[in-house]
Symmetry: C2
Subunit: 144 residues, 2 copies
DNA sequence: TATTGTTATACTCTATAACTATA
DNA sequence: TATAGTTATAGAGTATAACAATA
């Protein structure tokens, strides 16, 4: 490690500051207040990745399974997600979207509720978006 | 579900996932016990940016001033920050580090408690760090 | 009136602990 | 014993609201 710690601290600090502000921005920009960010996140993953378990979701996002279970419970209470049995392993419960869950996601897309995605599209060129995507891959490496 | 980026995963979602995991990582890696992430963040800003007000800090990080005030109050309670009068404007209170605050920051640096900074230093080349820094500037643009 | 700051309160997010059921 | 899931509880972080003091 070099002695130029202040430079690295600056990147780390800037990273923390920027992403914190981005998350707050997304949270406050959420229109309907219908769903929290974590709920939307889980809903999308269940939609895209097909039947998944709570443990799957936790591993993918490096969360405790209890934390994911809390979010899933809220979605089940709202009738957006359903737990189904896995006949191969009765401990597992496969999560799938209900019709209401699918409808809500479709409505969100139509209503333009993907605030961050729109900001990225509107304010960054294609080349800049590519650069950000590459940097995210680099940052992902810090998590291994 | 593997943690890899899927075809349908947008930059926005990947951004949210990566930075969320990074923040959690920092929080759990913090030797804790002493200070929370937000407290460390404010402490550093007071150190670097000299005498600042609560409003200054709030504007810089796009937080409500009440939120910053809560963090500052915790630091004052711990004797790490002191509020001083601004003779030019009696509404303002200038925040400065106490000796204990300065000592704690110095100790953190020596003890290698800057986890994120060390991860960046250890796992990214200089060129990659530069790329991340540039991307942070791009992301900062989304906040204006 | 506008700005600066504080305090009180509530909500989101996520962790830890304790428990049940199945492998 | 190990794994999958749920529920309870606690803490960090931040927002909104209400208020006081100063400009």
């Amino acid at each position: 490690m070099s002695g130029e710690t202040s430079d690295h601290e600056t990147i780390a600090e800037e990273l923390q500051s920027v992403v914190g502000a981005l998350v707050r921005r997304m949270r406050s920009a959420s229109p309907g207040r219908e769903l929290s960010l974590s709920q939307v996140s889980v809903l999308k993953r269940v939609d895209w990745d097909g039947p998944v378990t709570v443990t799957d979701l936790a591993r993918a996002d490096k969360l405790r399974h209890q934390s994911v279970a809390a979010t899933v419970a809220a979605l089940v209470d709202r009738g957006l997600v359903r737990r189904t049995a896995d006949s191969d392993d009765l401990r597992r419960k496969l999560l799938i979207l209900t019709e209401a869950g699918r409808a809500l996601l479709a409505e969100r897309r139509l209503a333009g509720h993907e605030h961050l995605a729109e900001l990225i599209d509107d304010r960054l060129t294609a080349a800049e978006q590519e650069q950000v995507a590459t940097s995210l891959t680099l940052l992902r490496r810090l998590l291994d």
